[in-house]
Symmetry: C2
Subunit: 586 residues, 2 copies
């Protein structure tokens, strides 16, 4: 061992003891004849003391040390004259007797501090230095603790972790697969799994009863902000259960993590909301319920007063920004610009200020009387000093835009604090969604999701109306996970594939082994998968999932540290029998 203690171990009780520490030079400070070094390791920081009078050569040596060098120091512990109450080791220091440089450091390309001067590209390139910063270390330690706590909970509840394969078969449903050419079978490919969905269902057919896995999944997406081509799921499945059993079990998992990691105890069940209600009240299937500001519809009462925009709208809907009645013209203009951004997509924003004297001032005074606006205010349960913000247009697009506006107002009003958590189950999702482009239904969750038994008859007549036994766990407006009760009957599964536009042959080719498996006694089963990266980032208060991934790719899918993806040797291409279609290259 290169040390007798870590940098977070020595305390007052160790005074007079000899100790050897190893770590990184965090900071060198000189005060006349005294030199102090903060020595850092994963566990903490211990102050080293060098005295010019006692050992001039050693002190000079210490002064010359470059930040981030790795050193080994032998010395004796003594009580500090000026203690640091913010440091667990702040009562003591190590009076150095010898120093050995184990590995000198060149000057790092950015400062290794909580607030660094390095931009993200630079930090990703030198990720091994970025990972030295405390926010990075906190993130990976949090991630480890959450994985451990999840495993402990699931193990204690009779789940067994089963590793499913990474080299599987390509199935075109869903996002794009990453594929892996097979050298031994030229022209053939493995695919990387988008999820272990099929395998966990087969494990239920195989009688494993309760399965989980913390597992890497892969999606070849055209990268969007805060997506990663590889990501991690807590993937679970249970047999002989109904939706209520599954919700209770995974609520138990969430509560266990809240308690173990955040020390927050939930004594009440998490609230539940149907998809329909979430869309109606929040315009969003993953509402942030840390704050209210729910939607109020004016479609009936605001039409027919001669305002063309409203008269032409399928939906007129608004929110009450409480206490914002004094917003300036500039603030209101900025809100209008916000809703007009292409990502939000509204044409304009109508506002109504509820004045202190009980009167109203709106951007549509021309069309609406004070009585009209008073009726609106009543619908919004508005008080003097409130501000009504109203959008109009096509139903779905308008709800989406108002949801964005609501979240923006939540941010502006400080109603979304990172250290407050509002978990929510969203249930009763539609089974299918219509895709206008391909003119067919897609599975909203995936093609193995069971319809609600009471809606199953609609599969033949009105598939878009069928609700699923599907559920999402939402925390603070982020979808943490979701799942469904599965189909376990090969006939119903075949019908589902038909509704999704699969030919018998396609269904057989891609999922034949699953439908086959259902022929040999399949138990009723249900499950869920949780986005582990997202969950960690929410618990840790990080902005991006990149912050909680040890070696993330950037937003275009590149690993800047390894410089990957990259060309491979011609020899490798030849072995795979691969040529590139150069004409096609962009």
């Amino acid at each position: 061992m290169y040390r007798t203690h870590t940098c977070n171990q020595l305390r007052l009780q160790d005074v007079q003891q000899e100790a050897t520490l190893s770590g990184w030079v965090q900071r060198v400070r000189n005060f006349g004849g005294m030199t102090f070094i903060d020595l850092r390791d994963r566990y903490g920081i211990t102050q080293l003391y060098f005295d010019l009078d006692l050992d001039a050569a050693l002190c000079e040596h210490a002064r010359a040390l470059v930040r981030e060098s790795v050193i080994q120091v032998r010395g004796r512990v003594r009580e500090r004259s000026s203690k640091n109450p913010n440091l667990p080791t702040g009562d003591i220091e190590l009076v150095a007797k010898s120093v050995k440089v184990l590995s000198p450091s060149a000057t790092p390309p950015f400062t290794i501090e909580d607030q660094t001067d390095g931009g993200e590209e630079l930090r990703l390139k030198y990720r091994y230095l970025d990972l030295r910063r405390k926010p990075s270390q906190d993130a990976l330690l949090l991630r480890h603790r959450m994985a451990k706590a999840a495993r402990d909970f699931l193990d204690a509840n009779d789940f067994i972790e089963v590793e499913t394969p990474v080299l599987i078969k390509s199935t075109p449903e869903g996002a794009r697969d990453f594929v892996v050419p097979s050298r031994l079978n030229p022209g053939q490919f493995y695919a990387l799994p988008q999820s272990p969905q099929v395998f966990k269902q087969l494990l239920m057919v195989a009688g494993y009863d309760r399965y989980f896995q913390i597992v890497k999944c892969f999606r070849d997406e055209s990268f969007r902000s805060d997506r990663q081509p590889e990501f991690t799921q807590i993937d679970c499945e249970m047999s002989f259960v109904e939706q209520e059993d599954v919700l209770n079990m995974f609520e138990g998992l969430a509560k266990h993590l809240f308690k173990q990691i955040k020390n927050i105890e939930y004594n009440e069940p998490f609230p539940r909301m149907s998809f329909a209600e979430a869309m109606r009240l929040y315009g969003n299937d993953r509402p942030d319920i840390r704050f209210g500001m729910t939607f109020v519809e004016l479609t009936q009462q605001a039409k027919g007063k001669g305002f063309p925009v409203f008269d032409a709208a399928g939906l007129i809907v608004g929110i009450n920004a409480k206490g914002c009645g004094e917003f300036t013209r500039k603030q209101l203009d900025e809100l209008t610009k916000f809703v007009q951004r292409p990502q939000v997509g509204a044409k304009g924003l109508v506002h109504v200020k509820c004045n202190a004297d009980g009167s109203f001032k709106s951007s549509v005074d021309k069309f609406y009387s004070q009585d009209d606006l008073a009726a609106w205010a009543k619908a919004f349960e508005a008080q003097p000093g409130d501000l009504l913000l109203v959008l109009a247009g096509e139903d779905a697009a308008t709800r989406k835009a108002l949801s964005e506006l609501r979240l923006e107002m939540g941010n502006q009003l400080g109603l979304r604090p990172a250290d407050t958590f509002a978990p929510l189950w969203v249930v009763d999702f539609p089974l299918l969604e219509w895709d206008a482009e391909t003119q067919r239904f897609h599975a909203m969750h995936h093609p193995f999701t069971a319809p609600k038994p009471e809606d199953a008859h609609l599969l033949d007549t009105d598939p878009g109306k069928v609700r699923a036994n599907a559920y999402d766990l939402v925390i603070n407006g982020s979808e943490i996970g979701g799942g469904s009760v599965r189909i376990f009957d090969s006939e119903l599964q075949a019908k589902m594939f038909k509704v999704l536009g699969f030919s018998d042959q396609q269904a057989q080719e891609q999922f034949g082994f699953l439908m086959n498996a259902f022929r040999y006694g399949a138990p009723p089963h249900a499950g869920a998968a949780f986005g582990f990266d997202r969950w960690v980032s929410i618990f840790g208060g990080y902005d991006s999932i990149r912050d909680v991934i040890a070696f993330p790719k950037n937003n275009t899918g590149r690993d800047l540290m390894m410089d990957s993806p990259s060309p491979i040797a011609q020899e490798q291409l030849d072995e795979l029998h691969i040529l590139f279609n150069k004409l096609d290259n962009k």
Copy 2:
């Protein structure tokens, strides 16, 4: 819930209670008016009872149930008249009041029994049925318990589990990489990791101090018996440690698993043996030390007596098969055939029988006197009744062949029981091995392994003589894992790449980020990786690692259940800009 209890929960104390069970029909037995069904789930088996007199229709229904169908049964618990002491539920049975078939089964393609009638190909195709068999369930449960125990131990010892990426950069060193074409970067590839080696070293540079991960790794090998293209490692790394620290830590891990899983307590340290000694005494760097039968060299004393084979040999070496002096001519002929198999590769086998009367009978009596043979017997510490088996030839090949013969004799003599465990550290491996084909040195472990400091000066003059701070953990003749102290100095690392025949540019291209990382303060570090599949198979007494993998590939790398690898859609190929070199196809 479809059940009130599992099939391993009801006991005598539950008699008279109402219960609902769900599970698979294991067996239906009819005795006159009585029908018994064994109902099975992951947890166990409970007997169901149906009485023709009580409910004829229900009893007829039960009799018609097909094996492996999934049913739900409601009934009342009663004490059995004829108890089954081999079953935890053997004191009771459930008198059925109603039965619901949740999912009927077609006749399975093979019997779901411990000893099945299905061949391996068929069982792999229907792996979800094969996984219902108890040996399969035991294997996956064991695997889960071992992973859990390993994580608990490592977590308790301050290791944190960090997920490293699966989409990395191809590095030609070692076995072949699987590669993943990048759609967004035509002509460029990710590679799947053969191990997280570089990442764990970077995590040490980043100050994480103690890392582990139970992680999938990938090798595109031309398949050999009992290799899998994807396999699982327990991967570990520690900072500020020397070899002794690492051996103690991982010996602790192994002892923890022995205790937790096999209830075997090792109070003494595991034995250690140098590579040189292992080769000298066992002809093998992973000796099975459950039994002795160590090598005895006769090169000096057996030469020069006119026996041409021995006179021409670089090495004459043998083992003493104790108590085999009565082996028949047939048995000896079979041993000769064994050593002449191409996989073993010896030309012939010399034997000497130590007779009860003190005389000797050998296959080379013509060349060696009774005195000569008595001297051999003395060297072997042989007793009357023993059998000496001697091989001769080129040094390395002869040791290897004798090692095979020794293991075969161990098998024949029952000296290798699956439930006896003999762990061993093999240490002081050579740093390099010469590859005659490419006429250059290869790293015996990998290019990041540190030479022993006392041998480092030989790197310039006699690289083949340099020993490494490398170590393997061997159990019962299988390499369970291994590791090394790492180089943490960029200059020494650069020199190592040079010895391995990398140009500066190649080294920089492939490992530049690692050598760069060493420039910013790298701690001394060391680690190990354990073959988790192998470890589970040894603890469980399974023949093949396929037995302990949920969804294994066969020996040619195919997943017979999914029928993968497989062709992908032309659309996918086009998006990847890939053409296949048809001329080249075999």
